[in-house]
Amino acid sequence: MAAVDSVAAPARTVEVRPRAVSRRERWGRRLPLLPALIYTIVVTQIPFVVTLWYSFQSYFWDQPGGAHFTGLSNYKTVFTNAAFRGALVRSVVMTAAAVIVAMLLGLAFAVLLDRKFFGRGVVRTLIITPFLVMPAAAALVWASPMLDPNFGLLNYLLEPFGVHHVAWLSTHALGSVIVVMIWQWTPFMTLIVLAGLQSQPPDILEAAKVDGAGALATFRELTIPHLRPYIELGILLGSIYLVNTFDAVRLMTNGGPGTATTNLPFFLYQEVNNAFDVGGAAAAGVVTVFLTIIVATFALRLFARVFQFEEASG
């Protein structure tokens, strides 16, 4: 990369590579970036450094004496804690299930919306609405008016299919929470895939048609490869937000019944608010961050792919 640049630089007049740029110029370029960079480092990184510090301390809100060093004992507790492992597994299951189903539905909806038909604008408006509803409001509305065993609308709508007063939140708690996550994030996936569909060059599709390719073959051979970066992006952004799901868990099931819907965010919330265990929560947080970094490394590689796509097409 660098070698190519130093050879190519003299020939180009525009886009002078920073290598050939004076020190003053370099700082001139850097200056606009610094406020956002410093802000982000301070606000997002310092809490994690402090988390690391507290993970080696014994510190309970409700006990006098403040924090004191305890070595690795918090970590020992975390790794032997079945509740933490359970929450970890549930977080992965909930996120994966919600993201995958939301993406499949999003694909289907986007294909539906890509054609012209009567009232397309209204249909799109209706479909994106769940994404705009406040998640806390959505969770509360799903919890009672929709899913209540005695008067919930869902049981009423499903009655013709032989469903009678199911107590969804006690018998299918995890599934119910996942359904609400899917309901809120399908619009997001729809919009991203729809943008991908609409950015398809029409002449290629036309050419495929002229060559006698069927609709299904065209979709498989042309559309899906074209959509790939959009799908990857949707999955990535969806995962980033959905792994932090808290509102639906807190307001629909409060983590229960038992710990059936306790995911990591809710587990950590309980550690701090009910067990008053800052040290233990910090250690659990550090472990979470390390696991996230492993996953994120792969995710960032995906982002790099999106980049290559951008450069290739732009």
Binding site: A36, T129, L233
Partner: protein, 282 residues
């Protein structure tokens, strides 16, 4: 048997029925998806006695009583939500526009690393640091203050905003920038007079997405605020009483809390689509 030539009338009929089938399918899906929202709004207009019935009531005499009840006491929460949302969105744009500029138009040497750093901060789950965040807020006297929410919501939205604004800036034709430079425009004039007017639709969609995420945020608010900065999602939670009939009341409060963002999103949905797709990919 010779194949009968398809009469034009029949072909048109088939085309039409295909079109209608498509439209019907799309409408059914959309309405099914919209039902929970519709049910929330309908229930909000019910008297409490009609809200918890079996079978559910679809015909009733609508009343604004629950809205009136829900609005009482909402004032401070609404104010906090507006301040936190607007404040953080303005701050995001103030920080994000120059940063995006430094990562696209006049790129710093390691712009790729810079961009990845911003995105990577979104991958660290903020929930992991919630206990220490509480301690930090306590020591900096920011606990339960609206400034804390503004600061945190800005950090929460800044990475996606930088990514989006940068991609809008990449769309600005190179010739226009060169022309401005030849005219002797400095950096500020280049940003203010050439780039900003061109990317203003993109900025609107960026701001819109920041508004949605800030307005709807609950986790940080519930952990770090009590009364002085409690936002609308927290009002919603507090409006659920422990006993008695409350469904209509809950739906009225949920409707009021959700409607501002829903309306803004409906009006700006084209720009939302643009923001999510163009902004993120190209």
């Amino acid at each position: 048997m010779t194949a009968l030539p398809v009469r034009p009338g029949a072909r048109m009929l088939r085309q039409w029925s295909g079109k209608i089938g498509w439209a019907v399918l799309a409408w059914v899906v959309a309405v099914a998806f919209f039902i929970p929202v519709l049910w929330m709004v309908i229930t909000a207009f019910k008297p409490e006695s009609a809200a918890e019935t079996w079978p559910p009531k679809f015909i009733f005499s609508p009343t604004l009583a629950e809205f009136r009840l829900a609005v009482t006491g909402m004032g401070p929460f609404l104010l906090h939500s507006v301040v936190a949302t607007v404040g953080s969105t303005i701050l995001v744009l103030l920080l994000g526009v120059p940063a995006a500029y430094a990562l696209s138009v006049y790129p710093v040497r390691r712009w790729r690393d810079g961009l990845f750093f911003f995105i990577s901060t979104k991958m660290l789950p903020i929930v992991a640091a919630i206990g220490p965040l509480y301690v930090i807020a306590l020591h900096t006297r920011l606990l339960d203050s609206i400034w804390l929410l503004i600061i945190l919501y800005t950090a929460m939205n800044l990475p996606l905003a930088v990514w989006m604004i940068r991609s809008f800036m990449l769309e600005v034709p190179q010739e226009l920038l060169e022309a401005a430079r030849l005219d002797g425009a400095g950096r500020f004039r280049e940003i203010g007079a050439v780039i900003l007017p061109l990317i203003s639709p993109g900025l609107v969609s960026t701001a819109l997405i920041c508004v949605i995420f800030a307005w709807n945020e609950l986790f940080l608010a519930i952990n770090l605020t009590v009364t002085n900065a409690a936002t609308l999602p927290m009002f919603l939670i507090s409006s659920v009483p422990q006993e008695g009939l409350f469904i209509a009341h809950l739906c009225a409060a949920a409707t009021i809390a959700s409607v501002p963002v829903i309306i803004v999103g409906w009006i700006a949905q084209r720009s939302l689509v643009r923001g999510l797709s163009m902004g993120a990919i190209k």
